[in-house]
Symmetry: C2
Subunit: 416 residues, 2 copies
Amino acid sequence: MSGALPRAAVVLSGNELLDGRTRDTNGAFLSADLSARGVNVTSILTVADDEERLTAALEYSLAAEPDLLVIGGGLGTTHDDLTAACLARALGVSLAEDPTALGLVEERVRWVAERRHLDFEGLFPLARRQALLPASSTPVPPVGVAPGIAARSGPTRIYAYPGVPYEFEAMWRATAERLQAEEFFPDVAVRIVRMFGIGELQAAPLLEAAPHDLLETGINVGRGEVTVRLRYRRGAPADAQASAVVAALEAGAPVFSSDGRTVDDIVADGLRESGLTLTVAESCTGGLLGARLTERQGSSDYFVGGVISYANEVKMGLLGVPAGMLAQYGAVSEEVAGAMAEGVRAATGSGYALAVSGVAGPDGGTPDKPVGLVFVACGGPRRTKVVRGLYPGDRASVRDYSVSAALHLLRRELAG
Amino acid sequence: MSGALPRAAVVLSGNELLDGRTRDTNGAFLSADLSARGVNVTSILTVADDEERLTAALEYSLAAEPDLLVIGGGLGTTHDDLTAACLARALGVSLAEDPTALGLVEERVRWVAERRHLDFEGLFPLARRQALLPASSTPVPPVGVAPGIAARSGPTRIYAYPGVPYEFEAMWRATAERLQAEEFFPDVAVRIVRMFGIGELQAAPLLEAAPHDLLETGINVGRGEVTVRLRYRRGAPADAQASAVVAALEAGAPVFSSDGRTVDDIVADGLRESGLTLTVAESCTGGLLGARLTERQGSSDYFVGGVISYANEVKMGLLGVPAGMLAQYGAVSEEVAGAMAEGVRAATGSGYALAVSGVAGPDGGTPDKPVGLVFVACGGPRRTKVVRGLYPGDRASVRDYSVSAALHLLRRELAG
């Protein structure tokens, strides 16, 4: 990609991130957001709540002279909230109470005290600590109680936020809006091309064969999908090159999305357009497909429910799968998956129905029907279509692939 | 805790971890595992696949003289697999082909070539690169194709593994077994006390009031549970202190587990002991409760299935909830949740049934029935019990809390 992009370093402070108690979400959120805004995250350093270590981590991150340093965690009222003090040390300045920060803290503590019927005078002395900032830095208005910190060091803009994810995310978004207004972010475009039913080894040569010297490219695989991501500075030659790469992928691979939409988005849009409802009949996924469909707000516009037919008795009793069919073909079969889809459609009167039956493992596999064998069926107004898959990985992986396969089958059936 | 514990640093290499494509799992897995083995992880540093940055990251991590440095990623056949070269630079040694490593690579490439019907001679020249190790280091036998690296630097034992999670995890486990045999890990005990129906603000004072100077303590909250974790060097005074803390928590708080079992474990064990089956009837959770129950291998011993009754038509049609009850009380009500549990129990003949009906949001809330209001019901051989909850956070959080509340209700009903 022509012209260096801004660089960012991230420091996360918190013992709970280092002893298995909590999985980081702030670093993952921020690096995805910065990448889409055209900033390259060059390091994420997670350290314990310890004055020496946190100071050393800040010094290490500043030494690379990034354009941006974002710090998560260590802002609060307890003795292990050390970010302000360590940042002051790393910047070689003193720590002092900031009147603006003090006002923000007071306002937030009054609000908390009123809401929880607590005594303001009891809370404020401890909370006041959060108004201590490194000299010449400024507070970032809080979303919770603790203000953030904005500072500069040479070429580096520094922002620190509390580690609570919703505070961190909301405060970063507010900062990003200001940075956007200051034209800090380069004018980059991100295009995402999604394929299903192809491997990375088949997709990569298509990308390599198309000129892409003006583009930053990345390939990712997961849940049976291959995703190619293009990032580039907007402008005449790069825009055209990106469009040519997208066209080459569309010509040579089963591309299902080049406008950013996920399979979940496409299925939701397609169902809304069709005006028809959807139900599910789940065996090995045990409810995971319904859970994924109802992750979306507004899914009740088209999703009405279904049956979790984990045991054969439920397949027979609630879905009307014939006992003879189960005996002849087994629960994991093209016939039973199709009958499950038709059964739930008949029981509920839905327009479409998805069914999943497979061997999720780790037990239950046979030479004929190994772990990972899954049949996915889609019943609809025109026909019932069943596809067979053999998915890799452990129980969670097989279930995840199965859900993805079901969504892709519905996507294709909706497309006609 | 008396006596310093061994310290570990972690370095993860991979552009995909820094641009939002992939969320780290290796660092999270390793820090949890090391913590339980009595090792304190002091930093996790994630860097791009770049020779300067990765070398600097290794130097930074080694400078703290940890007892252990674990490196994930950057071992493979492509030009951005730089771990061996960067580690050699950081250690100030040369890179040379290791005969043992070469043998391991050759063996694995033959296996891959045979399995995928590829030409060994075509694959081997590129794969051979993986036998280049820093001088005086030794290979760690591969789980995939790439061997790992074992090295020493002063007091620090260094291990590098490929970033593919199943390879990283399996290779670390093999290393940990050897370290265990060498008595590298201190003799620590971890005790976990789990509570439900109490907040951190109520649990923390109970912990503070009990002597715990020989213990390292941590409190964590999530899904309505408060978890207290005690870690200590085994031995007479610390063992007794830990037992006294556990007893104090059990006396003062609604502790449901102090033997390490989760609510999922307890429910699974309880259902097996009862000899009765379980079904679900899910509205706002849309299948998430069934999905969680069937995450466990062997759940088919007691879980038979259920109904996702997202729309009222399904509540009436498949669960027999009376239309008049829905009209009078609304779908999100004590009455309807109870009728859903009884309906799915009657439709399937299961011993127990869990039902969930609530307002997951972000839309659909009213002053009477706000977002987060959830009724959870458990039908069983003795009675049908319904509990009301008001859960915080976004749609995903409300659904997650609801599933947890359902499991806890069943846990209590199973306990009699």
